[in-house]
């Protein structure tokens, strides 16, 4: 048996991702014939087989990142492996839990076992009969147990010394209970970005209650005309965006970003609008949002959202935003606390607009109420400023005076 290890592709390389097996278990491989491919930072490398023989065991599944010198496969000479003399006390093969590829029955604790191997097996709950020993006389070595654990464990087990960042398939007996699939690239990027944001900014959220009755009236009045003129419905979002642009002009710190110890003020207002996709999220940007009226904003929102969903956005349409809005009200949410879209310093969340009984001058009235939540980066923006900004949006919306059409 020859162990095939993850090679060291240079001093600077400590791990690699096994991207593809070029041979299947059971296939014959010649010495120096490409056996698998690995990928390290932007470099794909074919790895030749260290020996001629039959690929008897593949211990690392495609897509797994492992450290250098990890055993990824074993090559046997084929003939010998098949004809290995059966041990004297071979137990019947375990039926309930099928063994990994080499199908010959392994001896139960064949030969003397080191205390380390026994302990590892006990700690990991491994039946040693399922492990094929590669040591002298089929003796099970520490490396055999490690390789077995690496192959079987879905996540890096506490004591498993093999680093496996991409989960390998779970043991077969578990397959009915869970399903493991790699994240899509977009999902991985979103995950990375969300955590980065939470780690970067000191998130604080302030929530203001806004009476949208005037906006609701303006919208109701313009709705049908808008629909027939532009072929799209008029929502609350362009009104909120318009008010936000005005507030950003009044409070430029909310339209800024942080670069080290510097505050970067953006003279232009480019507002990103979070768009939910089937399996993710994208934030296309309305450029020069401050220069658009409600009609222009609504058209931009519809256009960007449609092209986001059909994946036709251009790169500069998802970049360069200076502030973002998340319209979770569209999904019925009343209040949420959005995560800042880095490197911006604030994001406005818009809750659903609902008719609500409120007290005005000691009388109960029915008004269209909406909660606006502003998550801001407390490193740069003090609470008072965050509230002044949100209050400005509220004031514009509550006193809506602009003609829509």
């Amino acid at each position: 048996m020859t162990d095939v290890v993850m090679p060291q592709m240079g001093e600077s390389i400590v791990e690699g991702t096994l991207t593809r097996w070029l041979k299947k278990p059971g296939e014959r491989v010649e010495r120096d014939e490409p056996l698998f491919e690995i990928s390290t930072d932007k470099v794909d490398t074919e790895i030749p087989s260290p020996a001629a023989g039959v690929l008897s065991e593949v211990l690392v599944v495609e897509g797994t990142t492992v450290g250098i010198n990890t055993v990824v496969a074993r090559i046997g000479d084929g003939v010998e492996a098949a004809a290995a003399p059966p041990p004297a006390a071979a137990p019947p093969p375990l039926v309930a839990a099928p063994a990994p590829p080499p199908v010959e029955a392994a001896p139960e604790e064949s030969g003397p076992l080191s205390p380390l191997v026994r302990r590892m097996a006990r700690e990991h709950g491994i039946a040693l009969a399922r492990i094929k020993g590669s040591g002298a006389g089929g003796r099970i070595t520490k490396q055999d147990v490690e390789a077995y654990i690496a192959q079987q464990s879905a996540a890096p087990a506490a004591a498993a010394p093999v680093e496996a960042r991409v989960p390998v398939p779970p043991p077969r007996a578990e397959q009915a209970k869970i399903r493991v699939e790699p994240m899509s690239t977009m999902r991985a990027r979103i995950a990375e970005h969300m955590v980065l944001s939470k780690r970067t900014s000191a998130h604080v959220t302030t929530i203001h209650k806004v009476d949208m009755t005037k906006v609701a009236k303006a919208r109701a009045k313009a709705k049908d005309d808008f629909q027939s003129r532009y072929g799209m419905s008029l929502t609350y979002l362009p009104f909120v965006t318009r008010a936000t642009a005005e507030a950003l002009r009044a409070f430029p710190l909310l339209n800024a970003s942080i670069d080290g110890n510097n505050i970067v003020y953006h003279n232009e207002i480019h507002i990103g609008i979070a768009v939910a996709l089937e399996n993710g999220l994208i934030v296309p940007v309305i450029r020069h949002a401050g220069e658009k009226n409600v009609v222009g904003l609504q058209r931009a929102i519809v256009d960007l959202a449609a092209r986001a969903r059909s994946r036709q956005l251009k790169p500069d349409e998802v970049q360069g935003g200076t502030f973002s809005i998340s319209n979770f009200g569209g999904f019925g949410s009343v209040i949420a606390t959005p995560v800042i879209n880095q490197p911006q310093v604030a994001i406005l969340g818009v809750g659903v607009v609902e008719k609500t009984p409120v007290v005005i001058d000691d009388a109960i009235a029915i008004r269209s109420i909406c909660y606006l939540s502003l998550s801001f980066d407390h490193r740069l923006i003090d609470g008072a400023l965050g509230d002044q900004f949100t209050h400005r949006i509220k004031t514009v919306l509550e006193n809506w005076s602009e003609e829509v059409l």
Binding site: E11, I13, R20, S39, D41, V43
Partner: protein
């Protein structure tokens, strides 16, 4: 004495250049030729590396064809990228055993080649940690993707000189990616020939050839 032959292939199709690389890699493995640096330009082509995902292709293959852009899956490292006129593509065919047996150092060296060449034209380019490639501010100006077989390299780098950047629109995965830029977009008017000469010169220095 280590030598490197520099070949300027002009504009050449992706498949044709790929075949040439394969031939040269074989010859290099057998020690029939010294190290090679191929400098060239591709017609409009989008290529997908081994670790690339097709969902990074925004446009769909039909839309690409309609735009006159070829699409090739290939065996270099890295993700999806665009090649086209105005972009210098460099394919070094090196035997790393004669330099450093270190793929990480090789990638850093390719970055340094671009950084040095750009510095000559007054562009302060650099690295962004954990993002291979060469960057000016937040924008990528040169991309890197390499294939290695028995320590012999192929594929390499792509430096945007006067590339029409709008063609990158077809391949941006999502809003979290960074923009691309070119020397022309940064206000540097330089011919491909001038830049190629600089790239070859800095390549020779960074990879430590004693003569060209």
């Amino acid at each position: 004495m280590r030598k490197c032959e520099v070949r300027d292939l002009g504009r050449i199709g992706y498949a044709e250049a790929y075949e040439l690389q394969r031939t040269l890699v074989e010859q290099r493995k057998q020690g029939l030729i010294p190290d090679q640096l191929l400098l060239l330009e591709h017609p409009h082509t989008v290529t997908l590396g081994r670790n690339g995902k097709l969902d990074h292709l925004l446009a769909g293959e039909d839309a690409l064809r309609a735009a006159g852009i070829a699409f090739c899956e290939t065996d270099r490292g890295g993700d999806i990228t665009y090649h086209g006129p105005g972009q210098i593509v460099g394919y070094p065919i090196l035997d790393l055993r004669e330099w450093k047996r270190d793929v990480g150092a090789y990638v850093r060296a390719l970055e340094q080649v671009q950084i040095d060449a750009l510095a000559y034209f007054g562009i302060a380019a650099g690295r962004v940690c954990n993002c291979t490639g060469v960057w000016v501010g937040d924008a990528k100006i040169a991309a890197i993707g390499v294939h290695i077989s028995r320590w012999v390299t192929s594929h390499g780098f792509a430096l945007n000189v006067s590339t029409d950047l709008s063609h990158f629109q077809y391949i941006v995965p999502c809003g979290l990616t960074k923009p691309v830029t070119s020397m022309a977009a940064l206000g540097v008017r330089a011919s491909l020939e001038e830049v190629k000469a600089r790239v070859a010169e800095s390549f020779g220095r960074v990879v430590q050839y004693t003569e060209d």
